[in-house]
């Protein structure tokens, strides 16, 4: 059956099995491979996207559930003119990624947190940023979120 929704501002109509997770529809049907497969059980957050602005782990949402909804993926964060989102810029400035595989999900989670809280506190960062990073980039993620929201990074010393 056809499932209609929008991705990064563009309308899409997919012929897909309704139980196919949104993750695989994005990656395999739409070629949006910036959203990653990590665990398949919503435990790691590598597949995080925004569904109607809410942070969502797309590996555990059937594509039929997003009919009529608006999806934003890492590929849709840049401005129309190609400029990076402030959070993406902060990620480069803090040299956050190591292997980089989880970072699309981390950035989507950070953007959602900032949209919700404005200037997230350390506790809010701890509570919201539950995505797993095996390389251990957490101190720099915290620093980048603070920098992107105009907060001094004094609360957490990242790089020496």
């Amino acid at each position: 059956m056809a499932i209609d929704f929008s991705v990064n501002g563009k309308a899409v109509s997919l012929q897909a099995e309704p139980d196919t997770p949104l993750l695989w529809a994005l990656r395999e049907e739409l070629g949006l491979t910036g959203t990653k497969f990590g665990c398949g059980v919503a435990a790691c957050g590598a597949c995080s996207v925004h569904v109607n602005g809410e942070i969502t782990r797309s590996c555990s949402v059937p594509v039929s559930d997003v009919a009529g909804k608006s999806i934003t993926t890492i590929e849709g964060l840049k401005g129309a003119d190609g400029t990076l989102h402030a959070v993406q810029k902060a990620w480069i400035a803090a040299q956050v990624p190591q292997c980089g595989y989880c970072q699309s999900g981390q950035i989507m989670a950070a953007v959602a947190l900032i949209q919700k809280t404005g200037k997230p506190s350390n506790d809010q960062i701890d509570a919201a940023m539950t995505n797993i990073c095996r390389c251990g980039t957490y101190p720099r993620i915290r620093k980048a979120i603070q920098a992107a929201t105009g907060q001094a990074a004094a609360a957490s010393q990242g790089a020496a």
Binding site: E17, W24, G38, G40, A43, I74, W91, V96, G136, A160
Partner: protein
Amino acid sequence: MADNPTLEIEPAAPVKRKGVKRRMFLIGGVAVVGAGLFGISMADGNAVKNAAKLTTGKGEHSFATWLKIAEDNSITIYSPHTDIGQGSNTGLAQMLAEELDAAWDQVKLVSAPAESAFANTGLGRGFLGEMSGQPGIINGIPQSFLSMIARSMNLQITGGSSALRFTGQATFQKVGAATRLALVETAAKRLGVPASELVTQDSRVIHAKTNTSLTYGELAAEAAAQSLDNDPPLKDPKNYRLMRQSVQRLDIPAKVDGTAQYGMDFSVPDMRVATIMAAPARGGKLTSVDVAPAMAVKGVEKVIKLDDAVAVVGKGYWAAISGLRALSPTFSDGGNKGISTASIFKAYDDLIAKGEPAGEAGEGEVKAGLGTKPVEAKYQVPYLHHAMMEPFALTAHHKDGKLNIWGGMQDPLASKMKAAEVSGLDADAVTFHPMLIGGSFGRRLPMYMEIVQQVTKLAMQLPYPVKLIWSREEEIAQGAYRPQSAAVLKANVNSNKRIAAYQNDYAQTESAEAETTFIYNLPVVARRHYEYPSNQITGAWRSVNSTQQGFYNESFMDELSHSAGVDPVEFRRNHLKAGSRHLLVLDTVAQRSGWGTPLPEGVGRGVAIVESFKTIVAHVIEASVNEDGSPKVNKVFTVVDAGSIVNPDAATAQIEGGTIMGLSSAIGEAITLDKGAVQQSNFTDYPILQMAGAPPVHDVHFINSGAFMGGIGEPGVPPAAPALANALFAATGKRVRNLPILTQAKA
């Protein structure tokens, strides 16, 4: 050093040195004798020619395999290492570009093709030196000979914290310097001036007197025809412009906007997706499977039975995994049904009690030295999983007698050779296309290449390209784990509060001797390995055996200090050589952490110092206990002596990440076995530390001792677990001897 150094590398490791095996495979079987007699060129002629053929087009010129200068002045560096996220490729580019005096914004770094012309000479050089115990001796061995060794071993590996210290120092700096000399000589001829009047900067050769300059691009064609100096002088570090600078990593921009392409992301037209389940008990075989339930799933096209696994091929991953989950395959257990976590620990205890080690190292008469009442402690650590964020994914296509494979492995060249072996094709018919790797930590090394074999077998019987993806469940259950290990440590501390004798009896599959450096200066010390094979393969897990050995020795040193009534830092100082690098690292971390100053109620401070991969790392951790009994790390202070640092910010990131990986494993990670099979299935029961558990404060400091460069990717890990355990003891009086600290619920 003698002009004609003689290195004899034993073809097979004797029993007593079993732990060397993981390194021996690198150069095993190659005897290196009288190496100084070989000719002088950067790599041997054939390799250089083949490399040039593989990388250069019109207007492009190849230098010593690893460097290409184009007439438009752009510079491409070919790295034989896979940047798993350590930033090592940026570091390598910094090293070559520094000596070349290249314009940094015109430097591009790409993966070297997985072809033998690009086998890694620097690695052969580094490991030869390390194994012979004489790092200096390698300087007499010409590149041409190392190139030959590396190619004979299909050596293109990333591991052993080797990229910068071996490839960088042994090869890339020299390639940069030698090429710079060739460009200068070419310019001197063309301008009719003495070479001594020329300087280089930003990819130009400049003659200040006449205010003229030539770009490297303009000189490249002629310079490439020259033979290069095999042993060019390197820059004085005080003139560095790129090295020792925190330049931004080259790979990061593509990792923040979703454009970075990992093996998982590869696709080609007509590609199908497969997923697989191997025998849960390693060593077992597939005994039966009814394929019908999978074939009934929409999108499933084929079920393929392998000797020890069943694979389902579908239109996409969801079809394939749904099909696989619909199956009820049965597997034999390979005779391993009696193997469990408890049975392995029991066997370890029995072996140590019996006292017949498979290998021994150390000095002095330990039995007499220990006396009748030594301090004694027993420690146990579990199997650990790498849990890299990108599960295995390789795409393979067999067509017209050629096999192409795309994906990320720590040794692309060995992967290619393995695929050739499994497919029966000539190596020339197989191409491995290296892609970005989403984490590895030792998991994607060539000795554990089941996925290469699996995808090759699938591709050889499918008429279309196939991407094989391991589910996270498969990835956790079929790991190449850091070994489960146990140790009984004993020591005799004399009336002067000095250790008179020290014994470390440890049991696990392989010897830890190759990756373990015992730093203390003791009159009598024995390290004895008790060998017990389980059905699991012994993996290389970030810092290899240094994790458990670091935990044993640094926990026990803490116990000894308390039993002697001496401060833990002071006690360690008393057993380190005066004036040593170790002592300076320890003193510096004590000073930076405010060791000895008061702490809030319930907070304890712990110290640990471990040398691994020639780098010395000490952590001081401040920790307390949460209401639920879990440990809370408040602050970490780290001091590192890696000799010198190429990119301070990237190195800091490695220490931060290594520390967190060490803490994560100490706090919560364990792979357990029952009936020979792994009990964990996903991140739900193999918990990785998250943001809230990571240290909110981490002070990282480097000491630039100028010693031979050590590794930076791994050495931050080993002291983390003992520093935390020691801090918890200081906070609570309870000693952690078994890891993980949180004994997790079984799946």
